[in-house]
Symmetry: C2
Subunit: 419 residues, 2 copies
């Protein structure tokens, strides 16, 4: 994509009220725009990162269930059935429509999916089932100040599973756990499976925590065996012996919760009258579980982890483009023709390329912008490189730099990325 | 995908309060679920149709601009700047957040995109620009009763363009017009380019109308030359001579508006102070246009047009699957093994297949469900077809039926679809 046509202009400064590293970087690099506290636009580059993250999530989720899309606007009745209209009134946007009916914006979808389940599940032969969505959620956070880590409007992947018995639930729950670890790894993050509050139906739920200064959670971690427990529910304290391996010492770390999985039991199926008939014809409430990943929070976490003093440093799998081609003009037009050729070559070879073809912008400014944007490969086409029929190629996250002939460019990138 | 695992169960009847054909069919076929009036879930099959429709839209839009994603939650201030907080108060969900601030859910995004434009556009060198999104909109419709044709929550593709002069605007506007015609044609619809009210900045805007009994619009159409004008703004009446060709007689038809394109001039850039500097350094407000397509309305229109007394009849380009494989069991397990082989063959050959592998469901029920779901190719694997190492293949929208050897199946489908 030609940068001259893109809806993009890097900003010298982030808004003064932003303190989070992810927000400052993403705003300056013009990946996002802030409309109000906790409410952001994903500008074209941010949108591409979001698409990459969602593609990873989808690929893993499609192995577990089919995708669907539930609405954000909910009638009060579904929420009253579980009592959560009142319980969640502090975070849920609740208001009256023009007909005077109480409606709200969904901060989560257990109630709604259980309601839908009644139309799809009737017998033990219909179970197990799983279904997921990637959908916009709303939560009226009091003082959102963590950029993409905590928004008032955000995209969530939520998966729901339905079971006839706990053995089926346990088996599926473990599959999702592994699926989540795979998602975070592919997105360039190391996530700790952390024990957290289990609610009414199981001792623990599990949170996926990424160690980061910006984290709002506090986790007790044993670096020896990998045991991790959210400090909120831990009886242990920092420095105590690990309750699992008994040899390591627990360390307290700040962490960002990038996902959670939760056994719900019959907490939501009972009020929704979501039941199935067993082979004898007797009715039982369906056993449920829910599994969430916040998409923008995932992106914000990647930005918190992968950056340096010059800007963002995207992992390949979620980078908005693979290559950033910079045209460095010295005066005459001939370099532009050369750079256009390089752009065509890259595009035809399937290398997703952002082409900084802007006229009248200095080399220094283009280099600084490229560092800020953080695309993995920076490719420079200048008078100097053209003399050797080559481009200068550099990796954003490593010292690697090389002069590569155009004909060898895509092979070079393919090999280097595979390594 | 195996139907036994899918979140799907066809319904004998649609809810009694649904009168629209599209809603009744889509609800019975379990493509959608109704949460409240005008608010639907896209269940897995409906979700797939939506993805297909969005893929067509994206392919055309990506030729015009980059995709981004704006939020649904808007602060009052942006809307007060143009006076539309009051003007649109009847259709806009407006409420106070927990901090007492006025916020609303966006029924459209001209104000917000103009606000963002200020960060991206500064000089004539930044123009023209275009950007689009596919995003959830909210409109508090008084009595939504047209199924997917008019929802309180729906997905809209909205494209916005920014120009330095009207020549640039006109050129781009014509490109979008052609792009829209291509989208509707690919989605199986014949759309009429219809003159409609132009607002302050041009004589006409243009609506894309599909002739349909369910249409809420009334259009005067000349079948001779294709001239069409929304009756709302026409001085002519039904039966009058066509003002364009002068020979045809105007006919009044009911039609569904599936898209619209609108020259906005400086209506939104001026209050947003969205200006650009010309080469002399003088400032001018940016000239804008907006272009919309409602995704669910598009799907609802397809359902209104493409169905028969037995159910839905999806055009290939937007069908949830290409093939619907039905296992017809007579008793023993051997047919299932055979059908499993056919399913594997189809999947490996890249034919998107819904496999009705349900046990204990009669052939009659499976045939009726297949008719209702409306997937283009129905493929039956039974004891009878297995005897000749073949499957029975039928087209949902034509009399075509054939017995086809498994080894020739994917070649047959490819050829037949290409024709």
């Amino acid at each position: 994509m030609r940068q001259s046509t893109l809806f993009l202009k890097t900003q010298r400064e982030a808004p003064k009220d932003e303190t989070a590293v992810n927000a400052k970087l993403l705003l300056r690099a013009n990946f996002i725009h802030k409309l109000m506290a906790g409410v952001y636009t994903m500008l074209p580059l941010g949108f591409r990162v979001r698409e990459k993250a969602m593609a990873i999530i989808r690929e893993e989720m499609d192995k577990l269930g089919a995708e669907m899309l539930m609405p954000a606007l909910h009638p009060r009745a579904v929420w009253d059935a579980t009592g959560r209209w009142d319980v969640l009134s502090k975070v849920m946007y609740q208001f009256k429509d023009h007909g005077g009916r109480d409606v709200g914006l969904g901060p989560t979808h257990e109630e709604v999916v259980a309601e839908i389940g009644r139309f799809v599940i009737g017998s033990y032969q219909d179970l197990p089932k799983a279904v997921y969505q990637i959908q916009t959620k709303f939560r009226d956070e009091e003082r959102p100040k963590s950029g993409l880590l905590r928004g008032r409007e955000f995209t969530m992947k939520d998966l729901y599973s339905f079971h006839a018995d706990t053995a089926s639930l346990e088996e599926f729950y473990e599959r999702v756990k592994n699926s989540y670890l795979s998602i975070f790894k592919r997105a360039g993050l190391t996530a700790l499976v952390t024990e957290a509050s289990g609610g009414d139906f199981s001792k623990y739920s599990h949170e996926f925590m990424v160690e980061a200064d910006a984290g709002e959670d506090f986790v007790l971690l044993c670096r020896r065996c990998g045991f991790a427990r959210n400090a909120e529910i831990a009886e242990e304290k920092q420095g105590n012996l690990c309750p699992k391996c008994g040899t390591g010492a627990l360390e307290g770390i700040a962490a960002i919760e990038v996902g959670n999985i939760f056994k719900l039991g019959t907490r939501f199926s009972e009020p929704a009258r979501l039941v199935f008939k067993d082979p004898t014809g007797a009715s039982h409430p369906v056993i449920m579980a829910s599994y969430g990943i916040g998409v923008e929070r995932l992106i914000g976490t990647i930005a918190e982890i992968h950056h340096d003093e010059r800007g963002l440093v995207w992992p390949d799998a979620v980078a908005p483009f693979s290559a950033h081609l910079l045209l460095v003009e010295a005066g005459d037009e001939s370099v532009r023709v050369f750079a256009d050729d390089v752009y065509r070559e890259l595009t035809e070879r399937g290398v997703e390329t952002l082409y900084d073809d802007r006229a009248g912008v200095s080399a220094g400014e283009k280099f600084a912008d490229a560092d800020l944007l953080g695309i993995p490969w920076r490719i420079v086409a200048s008078d100097r490189t053209r003399a050797s029929g080559a481009v200068e190629i550099k990796r954003r996250d490593a010292a690697l730099a090389a002069l590569v002939k155009i004909s060898e460019l895509s092979a070079f990138l393919k090999q280097a990325t595979a390594v």
